[in-house]
Amino acid sequence: MADYNTMELMICSAARELEDGSSVGVGTGAPCAAAMLAQKAHSPSLVIFFEAGGAAPLIPEMPISVGDSRTTYKAVMASGMCEVMETACRGMLDYTFLGGAQIDMYGNLNSTRIGPDHQKPKVRFPGSGGANDFASFCWRMMVMTPQDSKRFTEKCQYITTPGWLTGGDSRAKSGLPLGAGPYKIITNMAVMDFEEESKRMRLIAVNPGYSEKDVQNNCGFELLKAKKIVENKPPTKHELTILREEIDPYRYVIGR
């Protein structure tokens, strides 16, 4: 039963969110593995988009870049950045998976910098890339990330990518498309969603081997808790077989 690691569990949890006939914008690494797993395990019609232009490929192996040839292998279309982002902006992309150096209680993400001086940061990260765009446009934004209290922070030093902003109706007021926003946060310890009114992060499921307290102890802000917190289901044999043998045989993602 415990013959899996937390990365494998996270990928399986994420994959289960992607129902057949839905569409998802992904990057490299774990999100891509989750989309590939969903497609092979239960959602053959999942439409996978890469921001550089690859649309609905039959991904033969994990891409290194969201623009490399793997992202257009036997694809339906090799397009460009405007095509993909505008497809998302029209409302055709259901999901996206993102990450970041910091995440706050409203699901806002920092992938730009640490340190107060923008022109001379202490640490410079890549910035938005397409993350801000996917998070603005895709109906449901999800995050796969390790859980620790530095990363899950009271306040991001810089908001690269919009979550629910300052909660409540702040996102709707900002001008971002209505109805889209953070949906689930998947960590090594738990799964969180967002409370409907306040838009604050809320614990809904705990992974086997962790307690609610573990989760809160590894979170830099107070988590809301769902009325009923369930235990997250472990990966099935079927999922693990696909993940290990077909998707990531060299364990680039799941082995680390």
Binding site: E61, M62, I64, D117, F125, I159, T160, Y252
Partner: protein
């Protein structure tokens, strides 16, 4: 127009469409050969202080030969669009080529990690940075390609990415919806690597086009490097395939394996071994200097660089990787 809010980032290029028109009015439309070496093209069209765009996507279909030549010719104080700029960004940082940057994706190499040297440069305070997103930079090119000074989009609002951008928030005159106004970006010079071009500059691209369709149209000067020269007759045989027409182009430089060490769709995969070596050696500034001397400054052109890194044997191996006969990360 009523501006609801605006970023504090600088706009490094003039979005004025009438000024761009005055430039394009004088741009050459003659059907004449633009064949030249990368060295000539960079000498002629890339100047200190110019705003530069490199096509492709970081380490995919990038004009690597042009980036190296810019370092060899010692260009400085340029502006640069960090539009998923990965290995190309790494090269330009190595030469400290630019001092202002529109950042959407920089310093990283996607799944490969972050470039130590690019981070050092971007944390040094030597570079003035405005923030955007990949799509916003695409829209800025798209607006310039359309010959206007701005286009609206629905991203970015509510974030610090907006705050440090040079954009503004306006309202739709029909629906009252808020929009991020993206100022048009007309680069002084761009370089794009393509699969096929004729001597006049008519180009075909296979696979993803990223933002190159718009970058080509937005740019005041455009340097094309190509895997293969084809005849004008081949271009005219089926005009459906032309992505960049000749009147946009100033220089055509045939550079087989021109995206190396980057990936080229349908041709060769990226050289992950070499890219790992590059990332690793950046950790040690002295070693990195020697590495750059060997690979860029003491190489006379892209072919010598390739020769030093495995030559045609390596190219054949990368072709096998591209076609999945070998795994990408081997």
């Amino acid at each position: 127009m009523q501006v609801i809010d605006q970023g504090i980032g600088k706009i490094f290029t003039d979005p004025d469409a009438d000024k761009a028109r005055e430039f394009f009015r004088k741009k050459n439309r003659k059907l004449e050969s633009k064949l030249m070496s990368v060295k000539e093209a960079v000498a002629k069209y890339v100047h200190d202080g110019d705003y530069l765009v490199l096509g492709g996507f970081g380490a995919n279909r990038i004009p690597a030969a042009v980036a190296h030549e810019i370092l060899r010719q010692g260009r400085k104080n340029m502006g640069f669009a960090g539009h998923t700029s990965t290995h190309d960004f790494q090269i330009l940082c190595a030469g400290e080529v630019f001092n202002r940057c529109d950042a959407a994706y920089i310093v990283g190499l996607e799944a490969r990690g972050l470039s130590p040297n690019a981070r050092r440069y971007m944390e040094s305070g030597k570079v003035e940075v405005s923030e955007w997103t990949n799509y916003s930079l695409s829209v800025r090119f798209k607006a310039a390609a359309a010959g206007v000074s701005y286009y609206p989009s629905r991203n970015i609002m509510g974030t610090d990415t907006f705050k440090y951008s040079g954009g503004k928030i306006v309202e739709c005159p029909f629906t009252g919806t808020k929009y991020f106004a993206n100022p048009a970006l007309y680069p002084d010079v761009s370089a794009i690597h393509v699969h096929e071009a004729d001597i006049y500059g008519n180009c075909r691209v296979r696979g993803i086009t990223v933002s190159d369709f718009d970058v080509a149209r937005a740019s005041k000067h455009l340097i094309i490097t190509c895997e293969r020269l084809v005849t004008e007759e081949e271009i005219r045989r089926d005009p459906s395939f032309t992505v960049i027409p000749y009147w946009l182009v100033d220089a055509v430089c045939p550079v087989p394996y021109g995206s190396y060490p980057g990936n080229m769709y349908g041709e060769y995969f990226s050289d992950e071994e070499h890219l790992r070596e590059w990332m690793k050696v950046e950790e040690n500034p002295e070693a990195f200097k020697a590495f750059l001397d060997k690979n860029i400054y003491s190489s006379k052109d892209h072919f010598e660089y390739i020769e030093k890194n495995g030559g045609m044997h390596k190219m054949l191996k990368l072709r096998e990787k591209e076609f999945l006969f070998l795994k990408a990360r081997d």
